[in-house]
């Protein structure tokens, strides 16, 4: 797969704090790549570096296999942290500036109206930016990202400040753009958002990459299956499960036990083991790991 962005061993220090620590990532064409991490994990700094507004101390990045450290922002639509527009200008006037900077080869008015309609701002196109609500500002930033139909979208916390309806609308836009074959780089700490939208994910903590891979693989296989089991005597079942050597943890839940399995052990193994030990299970169900569960567990493991 063609690489859209390659990040090699990037390091960014702010005095003694390492905001990004030896980070390497590869983002392929057509991927919706989520960068997950708690606040201060280096997500925005990483995006700032590849967009050319923050200078890294070490390492390099490469867009579209072009020479090292050259930004390609005219081929990328990006929203970084907060929407930044001139407060006294209208939505249209602010987008006109971006249109001119991007050197878009389309009819200006039509293109600006198109993105304003997508983001439901067309009716307010002549209102000054400083009269917009936080959600409208965020939607204008998304309109700016879509301006000129760029190959790659870089979105840093795109649903910040939006109400549930706004979040759903932005999510729809992202999914629609992904279906059109766009490569999307999405940084967020909202795990549900990443899980619903992204195909691939990287998890960062304190600037370090903890893990990366496909979302589907990460939620299913990374750290073993989760099973919920129950028997007539749950106390005896708990002792049995601990003794089995197949579980990482055994927790009591309402009317049963929650088992976090060791890799390579599953529901069939537990059922067979319980049967051999003369214990009949009245409940045995496999629970899909959410990205949130996985994320929290990975962070816990890397404390």
């Amino acid at each position: 797969m063609e690489n859209i962005l390659q990040i090699n061993n990037i390091e960014k220090r702010y005095t003694v704090v390492k905001a990004v620590d030896n980070l390497s990532l590869e983002i392929g064409r057509g991927q919706v790549f989520g960068i997950l991490g708690p606040n201060g994990s280096g997500k925005t700094t990483t995006l700032g570096i590849v967009l050319g507004i923050i200078k890294q101390n070490l390492g390099n990045f490469k867009w579209f296999d072009l020479p090292d450290n050259t930004t390609q922002n005219n081929r990328v639509g990006a929203l970084l942290e907060t929407p930044n527009f001139l407060p006294y200008l209208s939505a249209m006037e602010n987008l006109t500036i971006s249109f001119k900077i991007k050197g878009i080869n389309l009819n200006k008015e039509e293109e600006i109206n198109r993105v304003l309609k997508i983001t439901n701002l067309y009716e307010r196109r002549k209102s000054p930016f400083n009269t917009f609500s936080l959600g409208m500002k965020q939607r204008l930033a998304i309109a700016n990202v879509l301006l000129g139909n760029p190959e790659v979208l870089v979105l840093d916390e795109p649903t910040n400040g939006l109400d549930p309806q706004g979040i759903a609308e932005i999510r729809e836009i992202i999914i629609a753009e992904a279906k059109r074959g766009k490569t999307i780089l999405l940084a967020s700490h909202i795990l549900d958002e990443v899980e619903k939208v992204c195909t691939h994910v990287a998890i960062l903590k304190k600037g370090k990459l903890l893990t990366q891979g496909k979302v589907s693989e990460l939620t299913q296989t990374f750290s073993g299956e989760i099973l919920v089991v129950a028997a007539e005597n749950n106390q005896a079942l708990q002792e049995l499960m601990v003794r089995s050597g197949m579980t990482n943890s055994v927790e009591k839940t309402d009317g049963g036990l929650k088992l976090t399995m060791k890799p390579n052990y599953g529901a069939a193994d537990i059922n067979k083991y319980a049967f051999q030990q003369n214990c009949v299970l009245s409940r045995l169900e496999s629970q899909k790991r959410s990205l949130e569960t996985q994320f929290l567990e990975i962070l816990k493991q890397n404390k």
Partner: protein, 272 residues
């Protein structure tokens, strides 16, 4: 180049503060000239209105214009500082401009303002000259019009110094306060503590000296009085206090370059 100017124009054409500052500059300048030229003070062969006759009018009007250059410097700080405070530079980079383009755009805008000031000074000088010169000799009309170029260098120097302050502090209020502190008490105090042969190289002093106070000697009609005044002035004058006009223009240009190059490197190497 046109693209960068178009972007800057798009940013400020609807910005009230931008037009208020420029109108304030033009208005105060024209009113001051009108008031000054309206005075009818004369003693003997000396008449205040002689300052507004060709060719001395070029020097006089340029000198009056220099009073208001601080307004242009404040404007330069406001628009540059705003681009930092509102993270517009950051957004412009994200949208596809190079860091050097940010500086180029502002300098093109400053050049346009500088040229506008030059045109205004030219128009006011010509109007005053034609109104107050009794007998117009064609050779006299443009003989001191080089003050127009000096006026341009002066306004550009002030604006590049202001731009440097805004890039250095990346905050409108702080840059404004520190620039004005440097403008009024700080540089004069530093100059007071420094020997004459060094203090004439301080940026504000040098830039200000580009448009000297118009010569009273030149405004006097009586040759005997003129000679007497010249004699007295030559005895009073300290050779160390100011540079000759040619040198002053050259060194001002040097300061202009120092501020521009320093701003360029700060823009290029710092996080936005």
């Amino acid at each position: 180049m046109i693209k960068y100017f178009a972007i800057e124009w798009e940013k400020y054409r609807n910005y009230t503060t931008f037009w208020v500052m420029l109108t304030l500059f033009a208005g105060l300048f024209v009113i001051t000239i009108a008031v000054a030229a309206g005075f009818q003070i004369s003693f003997g062969e000396f008449d205040v209105r002689n300052f507004f006759k060709f060719p001395l009018v070029w020097n006089t009007v340029a000198w009056f214009a220099s009073w208001f250059n601080l307004l242009l410097a404040i404007l330069a700080i406001i628009i540059t500082g705003n681009d930092f405070s509102w993270k517009i530079y950051r957004q412009n980079i994200i949208d596809g401009l190079e860091r050097t383009h940010l500086l180029t755009g502002k300098y093109i805008l400053f050049t346009a303002i500088g040229l506008g000031v030059m045109v205004l000074v030219m128009l006011v000088s010509l109007v005053c000259g034609f109104i107050y010169t009794d007998k117009i000799v064609f050779a006299d009309i443009f003989s001191k019009s080089y003050y127009l170029i000096i006026c341009f260098v002066q306004s550009m120097s002030y604006m590049s110094m202001a731009f440097f302050a805004a890039v250095l502090f990346r905050n409108t209020s702080m840059a404004l306060v520190l620039f004005i502190v440097y403008f009024f008490p700080l540089e004069p105090i530093l100059r007071f503590m420094t020997p004459d042969h060094i203090d004439k190289f301080f940026p504000l002093k040098l830039i200000s000296d580009l448009t000297p106070y118009p010569s009273i000697v030149d405004a006097t009609n009586d040759p005997a009085m003129k000679a007497a005044m010249e004699n007295q002035l030559s005895q009073m004058k300290s050779d160390d206090s100011t540079l000759s006009l040619g040198w002053a223009v050259l060194v001002s240009f040097g300061w202009w370059m120092v501020f521009s190059v320093s701003s360029f490197f700060m823009m290029k190497n710092r996080n936005l």
